[in-house]
Assembly symmetry: C3
């Protein structure tokens, strides 16, 4: 397998804390050993990329605004199990710090520093009324399925739901 095949495309569909950590751990780990990495955020995963890291009424349309408020941003990501009303992600972050493991915020910074291709799903943004300016500036493109598949050619695709 030639170098060009060392390519990983991750579809980050989930907005759960633990799965976001998994997505960024895989992405940064792969980029660190020179794999090309595409990190594509869709649906709940968009919450990780929102500029506003807390709850905010963003989006177009009353339903979208309520839905975005309820989902919140990066600071509101729940644990997929044993969430205990949102306390667990904070405890987990504490455990990660104690063990000298990169926290989610640090992983996101590492992804930016490593030049990982952060892309957002056009259709999910359209449904949820989220605009490009609602997302962090590092999001390079807003694309659809055909473009994502083109980016992922010859590589491996992982879906984190």
């Amino acid at each position: 397998m030639s170098e060009e095949h060392k390519k990983l495309s991750i579809i980050s569909f989930s907005g759960d804390f633990d799965k976001a950590v998994a997505a960024f751990t895989l992405a940064t780990g792969a980029a660190a050993v020179n794999w090309e990495v595409n990190l594509f955020f869709t649906f709940w995963g968009l919450n990780i990329l929102k500029k506003k890291t807390g709850r905010a009424f963003i989006g177009k349309g009353i339903l979208a605004r309520i839905f975005n408020f309820l989902m919140g941003g990066r600071k509101n990501l729940p644990l997929s199990r044993l969430n205990f009303a949102g306390i667990s992600p904070h405890l987990m972050t504490g455990m990660m710090k104690n063990r000298n493991v990169a926290t989610l915020s640090e992983l996101i910074d590492a992804a930016k520093a490593l030049g990982i291709n952060l892309i957002a799903c056009e259709m999910a943004m359209h449904i949820l009324g989220v605009k490009k300016e609602d997302l962090i500036d590092e999001v390079r493109e807003v694309i659809g399925v055909p473009s994502f598949l083109e980016y992922s050619r010859n590589g491996q695709i992982i879906f984190i739901s």
Copy 2:
């Protein structure tokens, strides 16, 4: 990469509304740009393919019948989060219509029209007591893991859980 490598095999394990939309969006988007697509339904994913779109006591054995009733059909798929007792999938469908985005029903029709290979998992059907005649006619085959892997050779596999 030759044309024959443009192949996507999706394992649709989830019976959640949002993940079913994701599976069919990926499948139809890939088929639209001439990828070969295998859409393999297992466990909760079988609910999407049931002929009876509402709750029904299908299956063999009392436990299987109760379980199938509780899971329901395509109209009972819950949102994986913020489901609000089943109201959210309807609100979400409304938002999709307002934005002129294909709804789940339209995506399923598109998948049929595009000739996407809809296949069902033999073992999951056996465990849940679901028979081929309980599923929509477009399901071409009921197969096991080895056949699925054979279909997926040289392609990319995605698992939506």
Copy 3:
């Protein structure tokens, strides 16, 4: 595609009963038709590999010990939906026995017998304070993302979340 490409690497992130069954069914089904299989357990998935199959205060640090107790071991895996306080996995196992389908325990034994490469995630173990001796002896290695990707080269990667 040459024989060397018949390789499947499964990231078993989930600690849900139904998804564990899916991971081992895919793994053993692939190994049975001579695919090379890597089964990589991370985060909740580590519960499947714990020596203590029930609840136990394992791990280093008070938070880790509580968290491991709450997650439990192989006998405490919940169904991802319709869990009914842990009754459903037992009912499901009963249904599997009635249908002569391999149960989770039998699938794990088959995986061992087939020589499937069981590996555990270094970072997840570190965060959760779980040590190699807490896991079943069949776990060959504790590795990080770069080693996992190296194992998965030329193969197909599946993420079960």
